[in-house]
């Protein structure tokens, strides 16, 4: 109890300092900005959460050497066990510790819960506002019907990714019959929905050979699903699966000798590259905002590998801190309200060129990239999970092409 009390007191002091200093010019320089990271650090998805916590901390170190606002970032990890309910507890713990910036990404369900809770908290506790950076949950609802002023999305959402993916698949005449397999929750359902919508518009001749939704993180043996895909005769599989659900799916496909081509969201996430190392099937392509050949990330990914013997694949960690630093410099403060206002509509230089946090819905506008799993080359030498392979660019859709409309009616603080 004593410890908790002290922590709260400390939190209050930090918040008070932040408030007091917000009026001063360049008062933010030298301040420490605490960021609460909440994602699965235990359970089936721990391997992903652990990597991303390290990625955020690694990027914080990178930005602490030099950033636009001159602030120091400190990232504190909280284990939300990938559950929306548990996320509310970790959010409360973070707020009690006086942390005003929250980052989360794994699971659109948890992201929606945090976004709602943050919005409510900010309404009820003026002066103690919290800003939520969603770095990977891609359910379009979060920047459409459920959008919030306090929620900022750093990844490209499913409407953008599917727009890019179907535009690319349109030009692949060998694709005739597609199988959809996804996790049964908001994200997986949206992937299936927007893929069908997009492909029907662009390639009405492509047949949907079958569609499956399986429980999130529960399936340990995908062999029956692969047998089904095989029996359907599909030549291509589209999936938004991530973490072990992706790794085990690929493993089962390889074990059964499935020859189909794959279009994925998360081929580079911890564990999956190792399963892809001796891949025998068709081409594996990924739609994301990053690929291993990007000039701007070479030093970062090499340094990360040297330090942790692991891969840095969450580019959003760079863009998130670049945006925060940019907004703090512009607001001349670390006060969450001022920073959120500055970040809404802000343009900064990200790892993938100029990025813009769209004012309308807080969806980051950035290029979307289709890349393919290939053997490392002298031009793209990086070896993902020491497999000798990596994701190489096959097409990049610039921001203005990848952009999709929004129906967000945002309530802004006065």
């Amino acid at each position: 109890m004593a410890l908790q009390f002290k922590r709260r007191l400390f939190g209050a002091t930090v918040a008070a300092t932040a408030l007091l200093s917000s009026g001063l010019v360049f008062a933010q320089a030298g301040q420490t900005v605490k960021i609460a990271f909440m994602d699965p650090l235990s359970g089936p998805f721990a391997v992903v959460g652990q990597n991303q916590l390290k990625s955020w901390q690694f990027m914080a170190e990178h930005f602490n050497k030099k950033n636009a606002a001159g602030v120091k970032f400190e990232v504190v990890g909280f284990d939300n066990k990938a559950s929306p309910q548990e996320s509310l507890n970790t959010l409360k713990a973070a707020i009690d510790q006086g942390i005003r910036y929250v980052v989360q990404g794994n699971g659109s369900g948890a992201a929606a819960a945090i976004s709602d809770a943050v919005t409510k908290h900010n309404e009820r506790n003026p002066g103690q506002e919290v800003v939520f950076l969603n770095y990977a949950a891609v359910d379009p609802a979060l920047t459409n019907e459920r959008c919030s002023f306090w929620h900022f999305r750093l990844d490209a959402d499913t409407t953008m990714k599917m727009e890019a993916l179907t535009s690319y698949m349109k030009d692949q005449p060998s694709i005739k019959s597609v199988y959809l397999i996804n996790q049964n929750y908001a994200h997986g359902q949206q992937v299936a929905r927007f893929f069908k919508e997009g492909i029907q518009r662009k390639r009405p001749d492509v047949k949907i050979a079958g569609e499956d939704l399986h429980p999130l993180g529960q399936v340990k043996d995908f062999a029956p699903f692969i047998a089904k895909i095989k029996a359907s005769g599909a030549d291509t599989v589209v999936t938004g699966n991530w973490g072990p659900d992706m790794t085990l799916l690929i493993k089962a496909a390889n074990d059964a000798g499935l020859k189909a081509g794959w279009y994925l969201y998360y081929g580079g996430v911890s564990g999956t590259p190792t399963a892809l190392a001796n891949w025998q099937g068709g081409p594996v392509r990924q739609v994301s905002i990053i690929h291993n050949g990007l000039k701007s990330i070479q030093d970062i990914q090499n340094e990360y590998k040297k330090r942790f013997n692991d891969d840095w694949y969450t580019g959003q960690t760079y863009n998130g801190l670049a945006l925060l630093a940019g907004a703090m410099a512009q607001a001349k403060s670390t006060n969450p309200v001022a920073v959120a206002k500055a970040m809404s509509g802000l343009k900064v230089q990200g790892f993938n060129g100029e990025i813009e946090m769209r004012r309308l819905d807080h969806q980051l506008q950035q290029p979307v990239i289709i890349s393919e799993w290939r053997k490392a080359t002298p031009q793209v030498p990086y070896s993902v999970e020491n497999t000798g392979f990596n994701f190489q660019e096959v097409r990049t859709l610039p921001s203005f092409v990848a952009s999709t409309p929004t129906s967000c009616q945002m309530k802004r603080p006065s």
């Binding site: 089936p44 029956p224 089904k228 000798g257």
Partner: protein, 341 residues
């Protein structure tokens, strides 16, 4: 639904079922001896996988397979000797609670020692490829040993499905174990004493046998079987702290459906559940389809359409529990059980 799909789904179901059986056999043995449901049984399955992983890192997979089960069996025996036996005199509920507590302690210990992340525990090099390939041609089905034959690449109509060698190995281990346990229980003196101690412990004791030691041996043996399943399951699937939770509930469903304490029941229930699940995942039929087949009109306007239109593949994961409930209602002693409740 072609022949190769039927064959591969049956094989997949069998391999899952046999893995479940390895777990369920130990649990049901312990239950029939002591009348105690061992809640920590799946935890010993997990410990088996982790211990085997560590041995594999040091001296190779085969030593892991050989040494992990007896090691974990010793742990189980020690737990029986120093904890379970002490609370035996207070009745079944404290015994149940102590195994329940143990499952939490094991989980935390495993996370402390090996971390919270999934481990890279793989089958040995020699068992990583396919055992055989099923080639489906318009003319019929063929089997070929080893990797896909050249025909798979050359003939456009050929659909080739490979069956992983390690899956087959796991099935072989399960069958060998089944035979060994059956022989031990029915054909040896030890088996005779165990069976007698099950029903008439006082009589066996008065004949000069150390019944508590028999109990300890059975508990250790049961946990060793769980650990053996863990070595196969860990390498076949994933070795991670949630692996005990993933199988724990299903194993209880298996032994209740099969009948508490019945080895034959556990076998039929686990293989049955494995095959049912394998085919359920492959089916896109729903209750709405069945009603349509009966000549009723079912569409979006029908009351409760959201429920009727759920596909079998979507409920595959809860089928074991559905069966569990049905069995408890209509045949509480299970398929092969002898005692009520």
């Amino acid at each position: 639904m072609d022949a190769s799909y039927l064959l591969i789904s049956t094989l997949n179901g069998l391999s899952v079922g046999l893995l479940l059986f390895m777990l369920a056999s130990g649990l049901t043995l312990i239950f029939s001896m002591m009348g105690v449901l061992n809640f920590a049984h799946a935890s010993f399955y997990m410990v088996g996988a982790y211990v085997a992983y560590s041995i594999t890192q040091a001296v190779g997979f085969w030593w892991g397979l050989l040494l992990a089960p007896p090691l974990v069996g010793l742990m189980g025996a020690a737990f029986e000797r120093f904890a379970l036996r002490k609370v035996h005199k207070f009745g079944h509920v404290p015994e149940l609670l102590i195994t329940f507590g143990l499952s939490y302690i094991i989980l935390e210990l495993v996370q402390l020692i090996w971390g919270r992340q999934a481990l890279d525990f793989r089958p040995p090099e020699s068992l990583q490829g396919p055992l055989f390939t099923i080639v489906q041609l318009p003319a019929g089905m063929q089997l070929a040993w080893g990797s896909p034959p050249p025909m798979c690449r050359e003939v456009a109509e050929a659909i080739c499905t490979t069956f992983p060698a390690f899956r087959a190995f796991g099935m072989g281990v399960a069958v060998a174990m089944l035979i060994a346990v059956w022989l031990l229980l029915t054909r040896t003196r030890i088996g005779l004493v165990i069976q007698a101690a099950l029903t008439h412990p006082e009589a066996v004791e008065s004949l000069g046998h150390n019944v508590p030691r028999v109990f300890m041996g059975v508990f250790g043996g049961g946990t060793a079987l769980a650990a053996l399943a863990g070595v196969i399951g860990g390498a076949l699937r994933v070795t991670e702290p949630s692996m005990a939770l993933a199988v724990g509930a299903v194993v209880f469903a298996v032994i209740v459906i099969g009948g508490m304490g019945s080895l034959a029941g556990a076998f039929v229930a686990s293989v049955g559940l494995g095959i049912i699940e394998s085919f359920a995942v492959g089916s896109d039929r729903s209750i709405a389809d069945a009603l349509r087949f009966l000549g009723m009109t079912v569409n979006e306007q029908t009351f409760g359409y959201a429920v009727w239109s759920v596909k079998t593949s979507q409920i595959a994961a809860i089928l074991p529990y559905l069966l569990l409930v049905l069995i408890l209602i209509f045949r509480p002693k299970g398929l092969f059980g002898t005692r009520e409740g």
